[in-house]
């Protein structure tokens, strides 16, 4: 904490064109009309204070840092004062370094070391190739990205960019908590079953990825390779006792190798975007599969429209229990529409509908800015479907939310 305060003070002193900062204070209220098994709560309130700063030390060196402070009413956030440097906890840390990296740039070479955001892929709703982008899925459908600890080397000309990433320490996605509404247990489990969260078994090795992106005349395309671990876990269940029936659940993160690619091709009426990844694994009980997304995109006047399909093809391996939201969103039609009413107001609609009709998720959002700093957003999330479907299992989690944000 003292380090952070010193860094902030130093940054404030160096106010100049080489310094930039921004922040927000976000207060969110989520109301669920229905209770869920194991969670009788109908309302959650959350607050987030975020501060981000960028400072150019010299023409070649730059540092970037971001800090989050959180609180909520539903124990999504830890009730402790420590500053978290890594996102490995089940709950969100109350105080966390969201980003902390140093950037060196010389000619066509850019190197970034530290906690940073790395995004790959071109599709919008689902990105199979986005392997260095774990997310916070505590409330599955309202998620945000987590930074990873990595060294990234980018060498690029105007047309071609080579991106090398090495991450020495694994960052998992944050998954729904036991005894909370976003963890839905399979139907038909015996009554009186007691579940114990045995935590996570984190892999010890590093991750590596390489991506080559080509910007052509009127199109972009890339190919990429990733060797590491899936940031979404599989679950091991162990029987602890029969009377009463007690089961222990432990998350583990299987090895993953990905061969992927993406492309964006603007045509006269719309832009075609496609992204695909083929995944193999050396971990037993893991499948080999292909994930792909094809979407059409068009911006017309004040409208922004995206429609597409996310598919999956399993080529080998057994199915294992786990939390795989990426695959849960496949075999589905995806859509997004946005309408800008005026400079301050906008409407957005997002939807995912499984092709077998067993699950659907829709989100309608209205957002309005008030002056230079304030924005309020009201959203309705509607989830329908069958309990045996990834989306459908959350059918009791439809909700309305109101967010008030002060940006500074």
């Amino acid at each position: 904490m003292r380090v952070w305060a010193a860094w902030l003070a130093a940054a404030a002193c160096c106010w100049s064109q080489g310094f930039s900062h921004r922040g927000l204070l976000d207060t969110r209220l989520v109301a669920y009309p229905q209770t869920a098994p194991g969670d009788s709560g109908r309302a959650v309130a959350e607050s987030l204070l975020r501060y981000e700063a960028f400072y150019r030390i010299s023409p070649r060196w730059q540092v970037a840092g971001a800090f989050d402070a959180r609180a909520d009413t539903h124990h999504y956030t830890q009730r402790s004062w420590g500053l978290a440097w890594q996102d490995r906890t089940r709950r969100r840390p109350a105080f966390a370094a969201r980003r902390m990296s140093a950037i060196y740039q010389r000619g066509r070479l850019t190197a970034e070391v530290g906690k940073q955001f790395i995004r790959w892929g071109k599709a919008d709703v689902l990105n199979p190739t986005d392997r260095f982008a774990p997310r916070d899925f505590l409330a599955v459908v309202d998620n945000e990205f987590l930074a990873v600890n990595a060294a990234r080397l980018t060498y690029g000309s105007a047309a071609d960019t080579l991106d090398l990433v090495w991450s020495p320490r694994f960052t998992p996605s944050r998954i729904p908590l036991l005894n909370q509404r976003w963890l839905v247990l399979p139907e038909g489990l015996p009554e009186g079953l007691r579940l114990r969260d045995a935590g996570s078994r984190f892999p010890g090795g590093s991750q590596f990825g390489v991506r080559w992106n080509h910007v052509g005349s009127g199109f972009d395309s890339s190919v990429c390779y990733y060797e590491g671990f899936n940031h979404l876990p599989q679950i091991d269940a162990r029987l602890l006792g029969l009377f009463p029936l007690r089961v222990e659940l432990e998350s583990y993160y299987p090895r993953l190798r990905m061969y992927g690619g993406d492309a964006a091709l603007p045509l006269p009426w719309f832009t075609v975007k496609a992204e695909a990844g083929y995944f193999t694994s050396r971990t037993r009980r893991s499948q080999q599969y292909l994930l792909y997304v094809v979407q059409l995109e068009r911006q017309a006047g004040e409208w922004f429209l995206v429609g597409g399909y996310a598919g999956e093809a399993v080529t080998a391996g057994p199915s294992s229990p786990g939390f795989d939201v990426e695959r849960g969103l496949t075999r589905a039609f995806l859509a997004r529409a946005g309408y800008t009413i005026d400079a301050n107001r906008s409407l957005a609609l997002e939807a995912a509908v499984r092709q077998n009709g067993k699950g659907a998720w829709t989100r309608l959002e209205y957002s309005q800015a008030w002056g230079q700093h304030w924005r309020s957003t009201a959203a309705l999330t509607w989830i329908r479907g069958q309990p045996d479907d990834f989306l459908g299992q959350y059918h009791r989690n439809s909700h309305v939310s109101v967010v008030v944000r002060y940006s500074f």
Partner: protein, 250 residues
Amino acid sequence: MSRTVLAFLLAALAAWGQDARAIVEETQRRARSTSQRYEGSLRVIDGRGKITEKRWRYDRLGTAGHSKAILRFTAPAEVKGVALLVVNHPDRSSDQWMWTPALARDRRIALQDRATRFFGTDFTFEDLEERDVDQFDFRLLGQETLEGALCWRIEARPKQKKISQYTSSLVWVRQDQHVVAQIENYSKDQLVRRLRYAEFEKVEGIWTARILEMFDRRRNSRTIMRLERLQYNAPMKEEDFTLQALRREL
């Protein structure tokens, strides 16, 4: 006799066309600089008179047709860090990418999307690219006084390789300073947007309008941009105008 008159008329028309191009070429030559930097202070006034204020920082490297520009929002706070990279080409429309910090992603702006307004202003993505003389056919329509200054009135039609939301533009060039004073953009003979230049001042030997006012006729809204801290020929580096630079946020 009639053939002589026709030949004369054709020659006159050709010369008229040549003149228009020469005027625009001269205007472009006089505005030439190796780089440009300014801070834009924008007031967006919508059809109901509601005012929204924004600021951006603009850096351009290179000269007309061969330039790259980065535009970064500095206010309001909620769009701070949003940036646009424009790579202009002499023979075709520009390439554009937008960086959104909240998503930590860049997105290529497709050609067919360039008619979209840029972040709630009355400028479209296309309006933010450079208008190079080689991308248009010109025709001198006459002379006209605009706000007390005698101007050439020139019609500009985009060549086929230049994909544009506008079918034609009328350009007013001041005869005293050889600077553009106004541009009216048309789509199928309907006025869509009017860009007015005002408060001309000589900065480092280049006559420059300190105020640009874009009027969107369909929405009846306008954006007034004031250029502050304007600099020409400031040292800039090629590597600060790439997708990697866009992500660095400074």
